[in-house]
Each structure stands twice: as structure tokens, then as C-alpha cells.
């Protein structure tokens, strides 16, 4: 068993303030469930407080992402095992895009900035973004519907993401 190398609680608290939101979003991408994502992040921070003294300060963030990832996969595996007892075929559950977690995870200023960026997107990029994210169409369907090559649809999406990312940073 690995001997504990506790990290200073103040440093853990600072890390929690700085990365919790980022890590919860990351865990959600794997688990598609906010409460499970919060659990994974919580366990990762407990690990940081117990063994974090061994981690180089510069590598802490990457270490946390890795820890959250592994914890999320462990939870996902446990959930799948739990579901497999109830149903014959195990399928990933549909993602639930609740609005409330976003408002919990993002500041209102950040949201407003993002909305302004979305509104200022060129029409062709905004169309692709809406069709893919809001209407949940695949790029193949979008390309067919707009009668454009698949690569064009993807590149418009990439350009839109570039503009939107600048807003969220």
C-alpha cells in the first residue's frame, strides 16, 4: 500500500477553487452525469490531499486530470456492471443537457460573453453549430442537408469553435 504523502490543506483548497469546475466538466464528458462527475472530482481531490506531496507543482493539474479520468472510468465501469444486471444489453445512457449545472458551473459574465460570441458568429458557422449542437444532427446529415462537402462542414465547425473558445478563456 502506498504510504500517504499529505499535501498542505491550503494548497489543496487553492487547487479546488481553481480547477473544480474544469474537472467536473471533464468528468461529465466521460460520465454524462453531473452527480457522478462531482463524485469523481471529489475522490480526485481526496487523493490529492493524501498523496499530493509527491506530485510536482507544475504537474499537479495534469495529475488531477488523469486522476479524475481514471476515477470516472472506474465509476462508469461500476455503473455499467450495475446496469448489466438489470438489462441484457449495456448501452451508454443518453446525455442529459440540463441547463442548471451550466449556470452553477459558469459565471453569468462568462455566459453573457459566450452568448454574445455565438450571436456574432458568421451565419454559415452559426448554422452548423445550431444544427450539430441544438438539433443534434450528425455532420453527415448536415453536409447532406446543406449540400456541402463533409470537410467543409467540419472546418466551419472548427472555425466557430475557435471564436467561441476565445470567449470562454
Amino acid at each position: 500500500m502506498t504510504p500517504e504523502r499529505p499535501l498542505d490543506p491550503n494548497i489543496v483548497a487553492d487547487c479546488h477553487r481553481a480547477w473544480r469546475v474544469l474537472l467536473e466538466r471533464y468528468a461529465w464528458a466521460i460520465l454524462r452525469d453531473w452527480s457522478l462527475a462531482a463524485d469523481a472530482v471529489q475522490i480526485a481531490f481526496i487523493s490529492l490531499s493524501r498523496f499530493g506531496a509527491d506530485v510536482e507543482p507544475k504537474a499537479r493539474k495534469a495529475w488531477m486530470f488523469t486522476t479524475v479520468h481514471r476515477e470516472a472510468l472506474r465509476i462508469k465501469s461500476a455503473e455499467n456492471r450495475h446496469q448489466s444486471k438489470a438489462i441484457a444489453s449495456v448501452r451508454e445512457s443518453e446525455p442529459r443537457y440540463e441547463v442548471s449545472p451550466l449556470t452553477r458551473l459558469s459565471s453569468s459574465e462568462e455566459l453573457e460573453e459566450l452568448r454574445a460570441r455565438i450571436a456574432s458568429l458568421p451565419a454559415e458557422q452559426r448554422t452548423i453549430v445550431n444544427m450539430r449542437i441544438v438539433e443534434d444532427k450528425t455532420f453527415g446529415q448536415i453536409a447532406e442537408e446543406l449540400q456541402i462537402p463533409l470537410g467543409t462542414a467540419l472546418s466551419r465547425m472548427r472555425l466557430a469553435l475557435e471564436r467561441l473558445k476565445n470567449a470562454s478563456e
Partner: protein, 193 residues
Amino acid sequence: MNMNQPIPDNNSDQRDLEAMLYVLRDPAIDCETFEARMIDEPLLAEAVSHAVSLVFAIKNQNEVNVERQSLTKPTLATPTASVAMPKFSFDPAWMALATISALISLFLLNLDYTSKDSSLEPMVEVATAWTDLQSTKMEQPSSDTKNETSLTSHFDLDDSSLGLETKSLDNDLPDWILLAAIASDSMNAEMVQ
């Protein structure tokens, strides 16, 4: 273009696109392969985190827009079959029809009221008869006055000794009031003298 092959991580834009495709579980990307890369590439993990926030922001904005549209354009709401409401139009033809209908309704109501008024006639007759009966009773001496007269007789008052002519006075007033008034009047006369 085969998206199942990992896209070379030569710039952040490509990474962001892959992250978005993963978050949306797009069939163009192999999620298991991508997750394996996420562990080794912290930047890819951060890109996934940003993609999640973007997806939620866009969906949130869409919901806000839908709510605003429903608030500003209530006529766009489609009522269900069970609660379908009639549609009112302000066409001149409709307005004329509505005015005529209202006038006809008022006319019919007026007719109905007039007919109800004539039905009150028997009641009026009863009321008139009752009033007549009351006035007839007022003309007769009341039983109360009789009682009061008999009451004065109990006190053995001698009207003649007081110089009163009770028969000339109004029968409606009790004798003791008249006596009190006369006494007061005589006291005033004495004081003047």
C-alpha cells in the same frame, strides 16, 4: 474523410474540434481511442472540458431564445386539441356581424324586461290595497289612545277642575302631556306677573 483515424494534433483548433466531437458523441470519432489519448494529453483533456462548457452554453442560449420568442410572440403558441381556443378576427365583416349580434341581443333583452314588468301588475295591486287598508285604520281611534284614556280615569283626574276641555283637543295626544304643557304655561305667566 475517415474521422475514425486520430487526427494529427498539429494545432489547438483541430484538438478543439475533436474534443467537441467527443463531447457530442459524434459517430465521426472513436470515443474509446480518444479517451485513451485524453489520459496522455492533458491539453486534450482541457479541450474536452471547454467543449462541455460550450455545448451547455449553446443549448442554454437556445432555450433562452425559445423562451423569449414564446414571451414576445404568444400567438405562436399552438394550443392543444383539448384546449383549442376560438380565433377572433378584427375583419370588418366580423366586426359588423358582432355589432349586429350585440344589437339583437340588447333588443331581445329589452323585450324580455318589458314582459317581466307587466307580470308585476298583480303585485302593484296588492301593494295599493295594503296602503288603502293602512290609511283606513289610521282614521279609526287607536286602541292605545283608548287605553291611555282609561289610564287617566284611574288617577281620578277632574278635567273640569283644571279648566280643560279634553274633547276639543286632539285625541292622539295623551292627557298628561297636555296637563304638563298647561302647567308649564301657567308657571311662565306667574313669573311674568
